[in-house]
């Protein structure tokens, strides 16, 4: 399958006054055309940072300190900032930020805001831009008359659709969505997820779907990358992670068991005791070992390598090495 994006050994540090927080530590994965890659993990694991890193827009004081982001054979990180802004952001990779629907300016109509975005990026004839806006507004399931409205007149679901449309209308290859459904009601959430699935098929896009909610991920992602404390714990297909066989990494296993299911009566929900490690000074060995129930002596000494247990299924665990 064709690859939209290849990320190799990506490293990002936040240079705070207390030292360098190693937020992304050697992240590698592939994104294939027409698929949704789910990035899942708890708060602080680095998934949002990954999103901003792919756009080369790390939140200060963050800086990318190593790695490659390869698209169409070119390492995007070799580009200058202005080149990135001109050619990559929104053109090739776009992002729907967390809480983006709250970032729509209240004093301009939707049409104005979308027009401004398009014209900032491309020299388009006004009529062409207009047509493009309408096409994508309709594509996300909204009627033309939302264009005349102001953000406060619209519901959460509608705003989220508009933000998604904005991420799409320059027709990028990769769309990164950071918690696009977290702030929405469950019915609207389902509708947005359906929308994303339709868009993926119709436009043959690649999505990177970042969330902390495993359940949502299961219904959305073709492949899932589980992150923990700035590192990749496991990458696998939807079937490999959520299927009967179950995931291989102890963290993923625990995460799955801790997710309550609607259609199963559970008496006691499992949980993972402890807290994620401090990324200023991560422990030696596997980052998960203090909370792992399948820990071996080796785990505290050496970091586990990424093992491909079956084609496409990678696990960073000594038990699978």
């Amino acid at each position: 399958m064709e690859k939209s994006l290849e990320v190799r050994n990506l490293k990002l540090h936040y240079f705070t006054s207390r030292g360098a927080v190693k937020a992304l530590d050697d992240i590698s994965f592939d994104l294939y055309k027409g698929e949704t890659l789910g990035v899942v993990g708890e708060s602080g694991c680095g998934k949002t940072t990954l999103g901003t890193a792919l756009l080369n827009m790390p939140t200060p004081p963050g800086k990318i300190v190593g790695g490659n982001i390869i698209m169409n054979g070119q390492d995007l990180l070799t580009l200058s900032e202005s080149q990135y802004r001109r050619d990559v952001r929104w053109e090739k990779i776009s992002m729907v930020f967390q809480g983006a629907m709250n970032c729509l300016t209240p004093v301009y109509t939707i049409y104005n805001q979308m027009m401004e975005t398009i014209q900032y990026h491309r020299d388009m004839e006004k009529s062409e831009a207009d047509a493009r806006i309408r096409k994508y507004i309709n594509l996300v399931g909204l009627s033309d008359d939302v264009l005349r409205r102001y953000p406060h007149e619209l519901s959460g679901g509608m705003k989220q659709r508009i933000v998604i449309a904005t991420g799409l209308f320059l027709e990028p290859n990769v769309v990164i969505c950071d918690e696009p459904t977290t702030a929405l009601d469950v019915v609207v959430q389902a509708q947005i997820i359906n929308l994303l699935k339709e868009l993926k098929k119709e436009l043959s896009l690649s999505f990177i779907f970042i969330t902390h909610d495993l359940a949502t991920e299961a219904e959305v992602a073709d492949r899932i990358m589980v992150m923990y404390a700035g590192k990749v714990a496991e990458i696998g297909s939807n079937e490999e992670i959520f299927g009967a066989a179950g995931p291989m990494h102890p963290y993923t296993k625990k995460l799955l068991v801790a997710t309550p299911r609607l259609h199963e009566r559970v008496d006691k929900l499992a949980f993972i005791p402890g807290v994620p490690p401090d990324l200023l000074d991560p422990p030696t060995g596997c980052r998960f070992y203090p909370r792992c129930s399948e820990v071996m002596p080796k785990c505290s000494q050496e970091e586990p390598p990424i093992t491909e247990v079956s084609p496409g299924h990678k696990v960073a665990c000594w038990r699978c090495a």
Binding site: E42, E198, A258, P260, L262, V266, F271
Partner: protein, 338 residues
Amino acid sequence: MSEYILEVKNLRKLFPVRRNLQQIIKKERRFVHAVDNVSFSVKRGEIFGLIGESGCGKTTTGKVVMHLQESTEGQLLLDGKDVTRLDKEALGIYRRNVQMIFQDPYASMNPRFTIRKVLLEPLEIHNIGSTQEEREAMIVKALESVKLTPAEEFLDRFPHMLSGGQRQRVATARTLILNPEIVVADEPVSMVDLSTRAELLQMMKDVQQQMGLTYIYITHDLSTARYFTDRIAVMYLGRIVELASADDLIDNARHPYTKALIAAVCEPVSGKVNVIKEVPIEGEIPSAANIPPGCRFHPRCIYAQPDCATEPEPELVGDENGHFVACRHWKELKRKKA
């Protein structure tokens, strides 16, 4: 002692909508019907869930029970005694018996207070404990009951130094320190990490056993509700549309809205990736200032019949298992003609 520790009867909470000049002249009054004729009873020692999407009135109901808002109409009974309107003194006593855990663990504590100060506050307000040592002991005990040990480590910290889960424990400890009978928990775990959610809910259950508490658990998350609650009431646009035990509600949902909610929930199982999920609901949620006539759900109901719009709103009708539903046609639901 009555069987029901809390009874809510025909509760209504209306918020006036700002009128423009034209409306003032015409003497038109419009109200947001946040809570529109809600009745339920909570058994002593049970965990009672209030489920619904945003705007359904569940949080407002919780606030009315807490007397943070005053009801417009209806009755509130605590252990058989009428507590709908309370004077200052009675309110003080009421608030010792009914406490609340808020959704946002960071915002619900004054960021400039140490944990000690946060926990001392209820003791100071209600004048509990005569010496400093006594109060300190009570605070430590409260922290221990929510498994924040060693307590001394936390007492001098500030909220921002704790994780979300730890903050929610402190918030829980703050309610427990007054030894209440009822705790209203408004989305207590929705802003907390997945792996900590289970831990928090487990802790809350343990505390309930220890102290014989009753919970009113307000959430939009059906999955945790199933795990945590004994009975669930589903609210839509200010009304309860279905009420049953947790298992019965989810396995045998009767109301179309409940069915839609259940269908919309995501589950961590494989095989759903390329399936466009069918969510049996139409349209958008209307404004609570413009409640649709007849059954308020009918504009969005895919099984709506002509009489759903014309006949008066259906009442909550139950069977011998305690499964109540507010729908006339629930037994034979037929899809609308397209």
